[in-house]
């Protein structure tokens, strides 16, 4: 260790030179040389800068308390804001010459359905959704003018759709003057199938497709069609709300396996159903006798029945059952039963049974009711449809559901080899397989093929041609009750994309010339016309 003092005079320097300090703190070889180099240039390490020295003043900035402006939102206000649906934008231009989705338009489609039947195209009905679409290709007639156009929704339909929560916050309703729907080939096909199913044959359809391909909107289109045609619409707007254990539940006595009712959800649901179908339900009176825990007058309307159920959650489920029994009575209108977010109900729910095991979603009374009709276990007596849409952006994956959908689709197209279960995969759900009934599907696909043969045989065509009565003609070619059909949605065609973009341009939301190049660009960038991506590219990410 080198000494800091001068070795000759033994006197200590008053202020130890930093250079000397530097030199002396270095031990080992070559001290002198390094010291010399340090002496040569002035050192810039004048002690640590951040070192705290006692008594030194430091800058202290006090954090300001956040200024309170106004009062904080009341409980529930934020959620209301989050869930708010804006259906109109006064800044958007009104599009002239916009047709409405009304009974006239649906009447045209009905006529074309009849025409197709009479022309012997009845096999299209048998082949399921895809068959219908393929057949649609070159020979679309009356509806060809409408496909690729945007139609407006009628005021009453909008009110009803709002009541059944068919509009979602993620959809761009708030950009336009009034709510409108793009008519695509699939939606025409679906509408036609709905019209066909009015006569007693039930349409059971799962709408599937990639994220943003318009599954929920097709469901909305179906609901709008149903409202215009005078159906009763019973919609479960968000399947996850039924299964994610955010509502109270109670075991239903006398059910094996135990079913669980959800009193408050059912009550809200009943009030929604009532509000959406008010015009219809208020004219229908009770026809059956019910054994309910509340006293019931015999001559009240179904609307009143729903109100009674909505008022008291404890009796909501029995009231719903009574309401449903009334709907299934003779002479009632067709019913559309629909659900969005199918995979949520095709797995275990978040509710727990008394033995702490998870309750399967199919054991929740509401879901059980829906799945019973989707699987074909129960029949909609007065005709109608059971529709379900999958969700691909915010939904749990259900392996069995995915498998079933693939299998059904393959069976529908008529592929020889059908995808089988992965033997090394865990997590399949036998109840889902039962519900979507792939075995039943295979059997009835065969039946379908037979049906097609018989239908295309000359005798039946003659029969159809003989029938001048429209309804009778429709009745002749009912779909064979069997599989759940699957409609796999893909991107829009370029014609549809163009129609949509022209509507945007007319609304003043898209400020560009819509020409072929522009459409092709947006269509390609949106993964071959995935409609949500076109919207994102054209309207939302505009810079």
């Amino acid at each position: 260790m080198a000494n800091t003092n001068c070795l000759r005079c033994l006197a200590r320097p008053a202020f130890p030179s930093p250079n000397i300090l530097n030199a002396t703190t270095r031990a080992g070889m070559g001290i002198q040389r390094r010291a010399a180099s340090k002496l040569a240039k002035p050192s810039n390490t004048q002690g640590r800068k951040n070192e705290k020295v006692k008594g030194q003043k430091t800058l202290r900035i006090k954090k300001k308390a956040p200024v309170k402006t106004g009062k904080p939102p009341a409980p529930g206000e934020r959620k209301a804001m989050r869930k708010r649906i804006v259906l109109s934008n006064t800044n958007a231009l009104e599009v002239e010459g916009l047709r409405e989705l009304d009974s006239k338009m649906l009447g045209e489609w009905e006529e074309s359905v009849v025409r197709e039947l009479q022309a012997g195209e009845d096999d299209l009905v048998m082949q399921g959704a895809l068959g219908l679409l393929e057949g649609e290709g070159g020979e679309a007639k009356g509806e060809a003018k409408v496909v690729g156009k945007v139609v407006a929704l009628m005021g009453s339909t909008v009110d009803s759709l709002r009541a059944v929560e068919a509009f979602k916050t993620t959809q761009g309703w708030g950009l336009f003057r009034r709510p409108g729907l793009l008519i695509r080939e699939e939606s025409v096909a679906l509408s036609k199938k709905l019209i066909l199913s009015e006569e007693g044959g039930v349409l059971r359809l799962v709408i599937d497709g990639e994220r943003g391909t318009g599954k929920s909107l097709l469901l909305l289109h179906a609901m709008a069609t149903a409202f215009v045609r005078g159906w009763v619409v019973v919609n479960i707007p968000e399947a996850q709300e039924v299964t994610n254990a955010m509502n109270d539940y109670a075991p239903l006595p006398g059910t094996t396996p135990t079913l669980y009712s959800q009193p408050s959800y059912t009550a809200t649901w009943l009030s929604q159903i009532n509000k959406a179908n008010l015009a219809l339900l208020s004219e229908m009176e009770l026809t059956l006798t019910h054994n309910l825990p509340i006293p019931l007058q015999s001559n009240i309307s179904l609307s009143r029945l729903c109100e009674l159920g909505a008022r008291d959650p404890d009796v909501a489920w029995p009231v719903f059952q009574a309401f449903w029994a009334e709907l299934m009575a003779e002479g009632r209108p067709p019913v559309l039963l629909s659900l969005d977010g199918l995979s949520n109900v095709m797995r275990e729910s978040a509710y727990r049974a008394p033995d702490v095991s998870l309750v399967h979603a199919h054991d929740l009374a509401i879901v059980n009711h829906f799945v019973g009709y989707l699987s074909g276990e129960k029949e909609l007596v007065n005709g109608g449809a059971v529709l379900a849409a999958t969700n691909r952006s915010h939904a749990p994956r259900s392996k069995s559901l995915d498998l079933m959908l693939t299998q059904l689709l393959e069976a529908q197209v008529g592929e020889e080899e059908i995808t089988e279960k992965d033997p090394f995969e865990k997590g399949y759900d036998s109840r889902v397989e039962w519900a979507l009934g792939v075995k039943e599907a295979e059997a009835s696909v065969e039946a379908d093929v037979e049906g097609v043969e018989t239908a295309s045989s000359p005798s039946s065509v003659k029969e159809v041609k003989k029938e001048e009565n429209v309804e009778a003609a429709v009745e002749k070619v009912q779909t064979v009750p069997g599989p759940v059909e699957v409609l796999k949605l893909k991107g829009l065609s370029k014609v549809e994309a163009r129609g949509l973009m022209e509507y945007w341009a007319k609304s003043g939301v898209l400020r560009k010339t819509v020409n072929e190049q522009e459409v092709a660009e947006k269509w390609a960038l949106a993964g071959k016309g995935v409609v949500a991506e076109i919207e994102r590219g054209a309207l939302r990410m505009r810079i």
Partner: protein
């Protein structure tokens, strides 16, 4: 205010959280109790009918919780101490019981390990 097993709870509190305030009830037991009475996890105490609250109180009174559980634990430690076992001694000395090193951090042991342990 809702009265569960001698304690008062504000009506807008979650039942699950209220149950977990009792010594000896954690996530597992509270989930079990909720499942037993078919109550959903988001239920507030004020929403429940009196009958359910009484049932829950009855259920809680059959469980070894609060003072009973504390006494049980103290008895266990006392037993170790009375045997003269190493664990008993370590408890009495306020030192780690399970072979941890004592060179630096034994704050928890100092706080908790004693023959008349409170919680």
């Amino acid at each position: 205010m809702v009265f569960i097993l001698g304690n008062n709870f504000l009506e807008n509190r979650l039942l699950k959280h209220c149950l977990e305030t009792f010594y000896g009830i954690g996530t597992k037991h509270s989930t079990r109790i909720l499942a037993k009475f078919s109550i959903f996890p988001g239920a507030r105490v004020g929403q429940l009918p009196t009958k359910t609250i009484n049932d829950i109180t009855a259920e809680l009174s059959t469980m070894t919780i609060e003072t009973d559980l504390r006494r049980k634990m103290r008895d266990n430690i006392q037993r170790l101490r009375d045997m003269g076992s190493y664990r008993g001694r370590r408890h009495a000395m306020g030192l780690p019981v399970r072979g941890q090193r004592t060179r630096s951090q034994i704050l928890t042991a100092r706080k908790l390990n004693r023959t008349d342990r409170a919680n």
